[in-house]
């Protein structure tokens, strides 16, 4: 790649989402909008190495894409087509010819971007499709980059994108920001996509490290953009807070040989103080808005409790247990209960945790989950019930797929009191 191409690519990364969003508003179809934006990129790659990058590259790309759109729609109109399509495209033509991108106020651009986020994350699409489409249209990632991030093949991702865009077109999903109740209904789907992108990077299950960090940063970027566009939504700030604080631990959660280091064992000096401050500030924004914290806000509040403790022993477990209790109310799940049991045990002694585990131990969702016997073993060991603890560690070792973890559990089974 030449220097000029890299510079153009950088402009593209900055401008593409706004460009696609503005075009989609005019033509009413994100797939068509993306094609037009791509046409403009190709034109830029031809022209800019000679002419240099124009002063306002965003406006140049938009003007070029609009001209392509007008040409294509006029040409296609001459063919015999269904009446409603002609009507739709005449509307689009009108919008294209009348709109003045440069004159557009900031609010309109923000609204377009928000509409693009909601369209990419439409509940009609599968999770995988939503994630891929969001990374493609909002992140400006190439199909190859998305494939590499999710360890899939390029053709699978390409097909997924084509199908997603077709689904949106066939269902005639309007390009708009949902309002009122519909906004409340559809926001979780958007937040879920951002959280999934982050977790894909955070889990570091496989793949190249740089793209993992990139994914976390991309998720944070999308979250912060959403926070600016939808400042009245507490859960948006809650999600941003959660991601900022989790990202602050990125440097501390791997040992020298790449092995995972659990939260309480992490070297807190390696946590990123800037991201912790940012996370706390986002949490404050969520708390200042009316209404109780939602699931993301509560998880962020728990993460903030950990961030506040300079040493693991200083953790305020009573508060964390209370926050898990609130989380269990708004988002009941056996995993939350498991975490609540750990917090209760840390706050009030192992028996308090074991009592709660007794209540959830027959939950079918946990029947093959190695962390249930592992946590139970840990609490039993702390309570001095070593024989029972050993049996639980063995059960946990049988259930885990991770060799390193199995080894650790078996060694605890041999010496449960250690």
């Amino acid at each position: 790649m030449t220097e000029a191409t890299r510079a153009i690519e950088a402009v593209w990364r900055i401008e593409s989402a706004r460009l696609i969003a503005g075009l989609a508003r005019m033509v009413g179809d994100v797939g068509f909008a993306e094609d037009l934006a791509q046409d403009a990129l190709v034109a830029a790659l031809e022209k800019w190495p000679e002419s240099g990058v124009p002063d306002n590259p965003g406006a140049w790309l938009m003007a070029t894409a609009k001209n392509r759109a007008i040409d294509r729609l006029r040409r296609e109109k001459t063919y015999e087509r269904k009446r409603e399509e002609v009507a739709r495209d005449t509307g689009a033509l009108f919008a294209l010819e009348r709109s003045d991108f440069e004159a557009a106020v900031d609010d309109a651009i923000g609204d377009d971007l928000l509409a693009l986020i909601f369209t990419c994350c439409h509940p009609l699409l599968s999770r995988e499709a939503r994630v891929a489409l969001t990374l493609r249209l909002l992140g400006g990632l190439t199909t190859a980059e998305i494939a590499r991030a999710f360890l899939g093949s390029e053709s699978t991702v390409a097909q997924r994108l084509v199908r997603a865009k077709r689904t949106l077109r066939d269902a005639k999903i309007p390009f708009e920001v949902p309002r009122g109740d519909e906004l409340d209904e559809r926001l979780p789907s958007v937040l879920e996509v951002i959280y999934l992108v982050f977790n894909e990077g955070y889990a570091a299950s496989a793949g190249e490290d740089w793209i993992r960090t990139d994914l976390c940063e991309e998720a944070l970027r999308l979250g912060r953009i959403l926070g600016e566009l939808a400042p009245r939504e507490p859960e948006v700030h809650g999600l941003v807070a959660l991601l900022e604080i989790q990202a602050s631990r990125l440097r501390a959660r791997r040992g020298p040989d790449g092995e995972p280091v659990l939260l309480l064992a992490q070297d807190r000096g390696r946590w990123d103080p800037l991201l912790i401050v940012r996370g706390r500030r986002a949490l404050e924004r969520a708390e200042e808005l009316p209404g109780p914290l939602g699931p993301y806000g509560l998880q962020a509040a728990i993460a903030a409790c950990h961030a506040r403790a300079i040493r693991a022993e200083e953790t305020n477990w009573v508060r964390i247990a209370a926050l898990y209790d609130a989380l269990a109310q708004v988002q009941p799940s056996p995993i939350v209960e498991l975490n609540r049991a750990v917090a209760l045990a840390m706050a009030f002694g192992p028996e308090a945790g074991l009592e709660l585990l007794e209540e959830i131990k027959d939950d079918p969702a946990l029947s093959n989950y190695h962390l249930l016997p592992s946590v139970r073993g840990d609490l039993l060991a702390k309570a001095g019930r070593h024989e029972e603890a050993a049996a639980e560690f063995e059960r946990a070792a049988d259930l885990t797929d991770n060799a390193r973890e199995r080894e650790l559990l078996l060694s605890r089974a041999r010496r449960p009191g250690a």
Partner: protein
């Protein structure tokens, strides 16, 4: 990746206070960075006379010097810390700054992974 953009205003200390117009334009630029989800932090700095410089000899002996002490062109007036996906993206953002008669230096922030393992092991937190 993180980048710092250092602004060298290229002005004399007596001209340090910016005009309302310049501040408004800069505010819009900062807002754009924030809306792009990239702005991590930023600060404008007081002139050098509000600070000082410590110089260390080869023996490690420290000497305090009051500012101003350097050519105006070399004095940092402020900085932005941003997240960007490439050096080119950071440079593109810097080139959009509504500034005149100044320079912006863009530098990538060193990450732990940039250092050899023994250096990483010696690190005891920020």
């Amino acid at each position: 990746m993180r980048f710092i953009m250092f602004m060298y205003p290229g002005i004399e200390e007596k001209d340090w206070e910016p005009t309302p117009e310049a501040v408004a334009a800069m505010g819009r630029y900062n807002e754009e960075l924030r809306k792009a989800g990239l702005l991590l932090s930023l600060d404008g700095l007081r002139p050098p006379s509000d600070g000082g410089t410590i110089r260390f000899s080869s023996e490690g002996e420290a000497t305090v010097t009051d500012g101003p002490f350097a050519e105006a062109k070399e004095v940092v007036g402020g900085y932005w810390l941003i997240q960007a996906r490439s050096k080119e993206e950071a440079l593109e953002w810097a080139s959009r700054c509504p500034a005149q008669d100044c320079a912006i230096e863009v530098r990538r922030v060193a990450e732990m992974e940039d250092f050899p393992q023994e250096v990483q092991d010696a690190y005891e937190g920020p």
